[in-house]
Each structure stands twice: as C-alpha cells, then as structure tokens.
C-alpha cells in the first residue's frame, strides 16, 4: 500500500471536526428525553404530529418545484449554448450564465427582497421561489450543460437525414443523452433546496415555514434540542438513502 491515503487525511479530519462529530452529538441529543433518560420519544412525537409532517411535506413540494423550475430554465439554454453556439458567442453566454454566482448568495437574496419590494411583492411564496430558483440555477445548469456538450452536431444531422422530425430529435437523441446530467442536477438541487434555511427565512414570510426554518426554530427559539436533532437526522438519513437508491439505479441500468 502506498502512503497516498495521507493526502486525503486533512480533508477527512476537517469534515470529522466540523460535520461528523457534531452529527454524532446531534444523534446523542436526539435520544435524550426531557427527563434525562434515553429513548425514542423525540422521533415518535415528530412522526405522530401532523403539524411536523405537514412542514416536511411542504418542504418536499417547494424543493420539487425548485428542481422542476431550474430544469425547465436550464435545459433549453444549455442545449443552445452546448450544441448550437460556438466561438465567442459560446464563451460570452457561458460567462454570462455564471457571473451572477460570483456574488455572495446572501447578498443576492437581500437584493431579490428589495427588487420584489420595487414590484410591490412582499415576503411570501413568490419571493421565496424567485430566490430559490436564482440560488440553485447553476447546480442544475452546469451538469445539464456538461452532458449536452458531448453531443456532436453530426448526430443531429444524421437523425434528420434518417427522417427524424425536430420532435423526434429532441425526444430520442437529445433528452436521452442529457439524462445523466438531468439526474445529477436534479439530485443536487432537490437535496440542497430541501434543507434550505436562508431563502425561506428571508423571503418566505408566513409561507417560509420549511424544514430548514423549523429546525432553526426548534433549536434556537423553541429550545427543543431533542426534537431538532431528531428532525435533522431523519431528513439527513432519508436524503442519503434516496441518493443511494437513485445512483444505484443509474449505474445498474
């Protein structure tokens, strides 16, 4: 064995200190009950209370809508830039797609809040979705663009000559070839937007009560560390399991 594993050590130590050890602490808190004994009552309370379940369901809907919206925006643009533009135009469009994300996302969220005020739209669903889509667009655009960039123009010409209409070309050539990027982008956007805290808190108003804001509330306002820990673990573990299942499917098919 080489000593190359030492190269990975700094990152592993970093993640241990700032993610895995705190996660273990959370796991510990989640099984401590209010009277100091150990048990699963934190989990049972969460899963039996329809109010909590409604928040989880609402977060799934918001994350799903964010995923679909970013996909519908990214796919045509990525297709045009990857397959039909070239040279200076391509470079300019790519830079234009990425430039907004050089600015810190908190600043962009605040900017959206002010822009929405100008349009006389207060905090709520519309503002929150605008913020979510803005924030997660690059995580969808880049994988989709990467999968489309491999499509040679001759593939599309070959399909046309064989008698395919533009709809055939889109459904039988372009979409199947873009699928790996679509799946990767969707997993990324769904997972991250599912647990998003800042955007719902800043822009969501009364509509902003998602899993992210709920966990914040349980820890810092409600002083319910046990339930907050349990909720964090439930969400993290179910997202982990879902990701494993989806990527297994992809690699075996």
């Amino acid at each position: 064995m080489s000593k190359l594993h030492l190269a990975a050590l700094p990152l592993i130590l970093f993640l241990l200190a700032f993610f895995y050890v705190p996660l273990a602490v959370l796991a510990y808190y989640s099984i401590v009950e209010e009277d100091g004994s150990y048990g699963l009552s934190n989990y049972l309370e969460l899963l039996q209370d329809p109010a909590y379940l409604r928040v989880i369901l609402y977060s799934i809907v918001i994350a799903g809508q964010t995923t679909i919206a970013t996909l519908l925006l990214s796919l045509p643009a990525a297709y045009y830039i990857a397959v039909h533009s070239r040279g200076l135009e391509k470079a300019a469009l790519l830079v234009a797609m990425i430039t907004p994300f050089w600015i810190d996302f908190l600043l962009r969220a605040l900017a959206i809040k002010n822009l929405m005020y100008l349009l006389d739209i207060r905090e709520g669903y519309t503002s929150m979705m605008a913020g979510m889509i803005y924030d997660y667009l690059p995580y969808m655009f880049l994988p989709v663009y990467a999968s489309l960039a491999g499509i040679r123009g001759s593939l599309l010409q070959a399909a046309r000559i064989l008698g395919a209409t533009p709809i055939h070309v889109a459904t039988k050539i372009i979409l199947p070839l873009a699928l790996p990027g679509i799946v990767a982008g969707s997993i990324l956007v769904f997972l991250m937007s599912m647990t998003e805290y800042v955007i719902p808190a800043l822009l969501g108003g009364t509509q902003g009560f998602t899993v992210g804001t709920l966990i914040y509330y349980l820890f810092l306002s409600g002083d319910k560390w046990g339930q907050g820990s349990a909720l964090t673990l439930i969400i993290t573990l179910s997202l982990l399991i879902a990701t494993i299942i989806i990527s297994r499917r992809r690699t075996t098919s």
Binding site: Q157, R160, G163
Partner: protein, 331 residues
C-alpha cells in the same frame, strides 16, 4: 424509386469569408459510384452536404431526376448518409441505431426486425452476435458497417459517404471498399463518395470528379482521367507525374509523364532515351521506386522487377519512354 440522377446546376455556397463551392455544375449518373476527390478545403464535403440538404446553396439548383430539391429539407430527400465521424447514436444498441430511420417512418415493428436483420447480414455483421451491443463495444470496422446498414435500411434513393474509411487501417479499408462496391452493385443505388485519397477513388469509382477551390477541375472514368490529366493539378494530385519543361524536348508547354511509363534500360522499346545516374532506390516489394538524375533534372520512375537485379545509387543507367505516353498539359 431507384436510379436517381443527381444534377447540380451552377451551385455556389459562400460563407462570410470563404467560397466553399463556387459555380459547380455536375451530373452524378444513376446507379453509379461517383467520387468527389480533392484536397481538404476543396469543397467536396460542402457539395455532399448541399446534396443532402444540410446546407442551402447561395445560388444554383439541385435536381434529383429533373425534380428541383434545392429547398427540400433533408428528412424529405430520402437519402442515406455515412458521416466522417459515423455519428452513431451512442446511447442506442446496434439494432436501435439501424432501426432508427424505420421507426421514425412508423414501419411496423415486425417488419423492422426482419429488415434490420437482413441489412446487418448484407454488411457482414452477425445480427445474433451484435444486435444488442452498443457502438462503443465495436471495432472501427464494425462501427463502419453499422453506419452503412443504418444508411441503407431505409432504402434511400441516394447514398452519400463522407470519407467513411479515413480512420481505418489500410487492410480493413481495402476490404470495406470492396464490400461497399459489392453492395452498391447489388442495390444499384446512386452513390456519392467523398475522399481525399486518390487510391480509394481509383479503386471504387465509376466516375471521378476532381475538385479544387470549390470547382470541378476534371471528371470522367478513373482510368481515363488518369491517362489524360487535363492540367498540372490533376497530373500531380491524381496519381504521380514527372513534370518536364517541354523546351528540353523541343515541345511548347509543360509535359507530364507517369513514373511507371518511364522504362529502365529500354533497349529499343522507347522513343526517347537518356543516360542518367541513379540517385535513390526505394524497395517496395513487387516494384522499385527510383529517382534518376538526367540532364539536370530528376525523374521519378516505378520499375517492376522481373529478375533479381537491383540498381544501386550511383549506377549509370539508361531511361526512356514512348512519345505517346507523354501528355502535354494546358498550363
């Protein structure tokens, strides 16, 4: 409908800075293999794309059997095309690649099965062995066969091939050229073959069209063009030639003579004989390539060995040729 004659009438394709095709008038006879031969950038691939409908001409008309197709989109021209990079669909199996053109035509699935199978057999690819493979699991020659099968299974009126064998080994290329000609003869399909390789053009064509700078330089049966090159471009690009200033022979203009027409030690068989000194000898199995210094210029000649003797650099030899083997060129 078989036996389509393709005609291009004064066709031009100008891009912003270049004239890829510039006033091309050309007839591709039905049922033949016609080769467009020329150096890269001569406009041969653009010509093919114009016939396919992938490019629209800046000016001029394209006719299939006297029917004007200039404005017809590619999917309505009933053409089979094999691209230079083959353009096989990487996410589909061999079967699905070949079946693609039939599926978009809504041919019943049972008929698709038998037609794809027959076509794979025609291009010498075992359907049982290869139908379910992906293109990436095939060799270059096998991918080539799939591309040809995919182009032919729709029973096109015209088959277009854009340097299809450019990336293959010499031996596989030779075999596929022969197979392509066999299939073309059997189907009697009008075929346009684009290449920059004179050997491919000679081997496969009923008609050769030599192009340069977006124009036709010379056309005709491959042997006739070879025997009667019209100018220095054809004489040196389509096969090799010695170009000799006519004044050295008392002739006005430039004279071309093919290397294999120059005889070594001709002893009475030649009309013109020179003394020379061998400068270089390249052994190529059945033939030798010689360079012989004569009267201040160097002649290239190809000598078929009939006995074991082998000239060496520095040897004094006599070289000569018949007057009828010399071609006086236009410029």
């Amino acid at each position: 409908m078989r036996g389509v004659t393709v005609r291009l009438e004064d066709v031009a394709k100008h891009y912003s800075t270049t004239r890829a095709v510039d006033g091309l008038t050309l007839t591709i006879p039905s049922g033949t293999i016609t080769t467009l031969l020329g150096p890269s950038g001569c406009g041969k691939t653009t010509t093919l794309k114009l016939i396919a409908g992938l490019e629209e001409p800046t000016r001029g008309k394209i006719l299939f059997n006297d029917k004007d197709v200039t404005k017809l989109p590619p999917e309505k021209r009933n053409i089979g095309m094999v691209f230079q990079d083959l353009a096989l669909f990487p996410h589909m199996t061999v079967f699905d690649n070949v079946a693609f053109g039939l599926r978009v035509r809504r041919v019943p699935e049972t008929e698709i099965k038998s037609r794809v199978k027959n076509m794979l057999e025609l291009v010498n690819l075992d359907p049982d062995l290869y139908s379910s493979r992906k293109p990436s699991q095939l060799s270059g020659g096998q991918q080539q066969r799939v591309a040809l099968a995919r182009a032919l299974v729709i029973e096109p009126d015209i088959l277009l091939l854009d340097e299809p064998f450019a990336h293959l080994d010499f031996k596989i290329k030779q075999r596929l050229l022969l197979e392509l000609r066999r299939i073309q003869r059997r189907l009697q399909i009008t075929t346009v073959y684009v290449t920059h390789d004179q050997n491919e053009a000679m081997a496969i064509s009923d008609k050769v069209v030599i192009m340069n700078n977006g124009r036709v330089i010379q056309e005709g049966p491959p042997d006739q063009v070879y025997e009667n090159p019209a100018n220095t471009f054809v004489a040196t690009f389509y096969g090799d030639s010695n170009l000799i200033e006519g004044s050295a022979l008392g002739i006005n203009g430039l004279v071309a003579i093919r290397p294999e027409k120059i005889m070594l030690n001709p002893e009475g068989r030649a009309d013109i004989v020179y003394d020379g000194i061998v400068e270089d000898v390249i052994f190529q199995g059945p033939v030798l390539r010689l360079e012989v210094r004569v009267n201040g210029f160097t002649l290239k000649l190809i000598h078929t060995r009939t006995n074991g003797s082998m000239p060496r650099p520095g040897d004094r030899v006599r070289v000569g040729w018949r007057l009828s083997d010399m071609k006086v060129l236009r410029e």
